[in-house]
Amino acid sequence: MFFPGSLATTLKIECIVEQTYGPWWQSLHRTMLRGILGKTFRLVGYTIQYACIAHCAFEYVGGVVMCSGPSMEPTIQNSDIVCAENLSRHFYGIQRGDIVIAKSPSDPKSNICKRVIGLEGDKILTSRPSDFFKSHNYVPTGHVWLEGDNLQNSTDSRYYGPVPYGLIRGRIFFKKSCS
């Protein structure tokens, strides 16, 4: 027990406390910091790992997509959730009549969702609905002809021409039917 009034004694006690507990505080700070750093690195590592697994899954297997727009009605309504798979694209198994997701030819950052009407070499009716005279054309090699199911309200190959096969992202195989 010491007298709180005595400054010298207080300082001496403080010195002893620092000498005994000082290294303890330092080591505690060090381990806490190391613990936090370790946790941060682990978190970053796990994030990178799961982001890479997600990229591989979306790129090579498939994923869930939300379609917006009226161009595929009545098959796919606005804001429908669909499942797309990318294996057909990689193995070149896209058939006529498949609904595919492709990059838009005029805007590479957005996607379009249309049906494959013709593959390369097919003879296609290429005139627009407003044209009086019908014109036919052949789909060039390496391209596909896409049309939406809602012909009156769809911007598709009838407007921007045949779409290169390399722009196709995936094929839709399942639609979650909303009530």
């Binding site: 990178i48 790992q49 982001a51 890479c52 697994i53 990229h55 591989c56 790129e59 070149y92 990059k103 838009s104 030819p105 005029s106 805007d107 590479p108 950052k109 060039p140 090699t141 390496g142 391209h143 290169p164 096969y165 390399g166 722009l167």
Partner: protein
């Protein structure tokens, strides 16, 4: 009889053998688990890196002579393809880019960007003399005119087919260099809508 007493009755070499077997089984399981863990970490990360960041490819053909493959079939250049630079589809005139061939989706072609969307190009050997590049498209040409299957054959290509930007030649060592984004003056677009920086940063 207690457990310890039973254990003490088993001859010594057998006990060592049992312990050894248990250890080796644990070693196999541990190795297998570590392999699986490493596999599921290393493969996705490597695949994502090669798809999104950068990869390396060998150039074949003479369509980009003399910039690439000046030696013809004797020595093919190996170039560094940078995916990260084109993740937002931003290219400049004069860049050497690799893209999915519009005529054959299994093949990648490497050409130079001559014109961006909105430019009017004077074509060489195309059915139209002057072509305006539509929105979202680019006009690519090989440096070796006449020996190149490029936009003069198949027209403007959609930016969605862009694969990567070739930035450096890595092999052979005597051809180590950074590929410059220069446009030959005779191939400048006749009229351009978008102003872009000349040369690469």
């Amino acid at each position: 009889m207690s457990h310890l007493q039973m254990l003490s009755r088993i001859p010594r070499p057998l006990r060592t053998l049992e312990r050894g077997m248990a250890q080796s089984q644990g070693w196999v399981t541990r190795y297998f688990k570590a392999f699986c863990k490493g596999f599921f970490v290393a493969v996705p990360v490597a695949v994502t890196f090669l798809d999104r960041v950068a990869c390396v490819a060998r150039v074949e053909g003479a369509s980009m002579q003399p910039s690439l493959n000046p030696g013809g079939s004797q020595s093919s250049d190996v170039v560094l393809l940078n995916h990260w630079k084109v993740r937002k589809f931003e290219v400049q005139r004069g860049d050497i880019v690799s893209l999915v061939s519009p005529k054959n989706p299994e093949q990648k072609i490497i050409k130079r960007v001559i014109a961006l969307e909105g430019d009017i190009v004077k074509t060489i050997g195309h059915k139209n003399r002057y072509v305006k590049v539509p929105r979202g498209h680019i006009w690519v040409e090989g440096d070796h005119h006449g020996h190149s299957f490029d936009s003069n054959s198949f027209g403007p290509v959609s930016l969605g087919l862009l694969h990567a930007h070739a930035t450096h030649i890595l092999w052979p060592p005597e051809r180590w260099q950074k590929l410059e984004s220069v446009l030959p003056p005779e191939r400048l677009p006749v009229q351009s809508e978008k102003e872009s920086l000349h040369g690469s940063p």
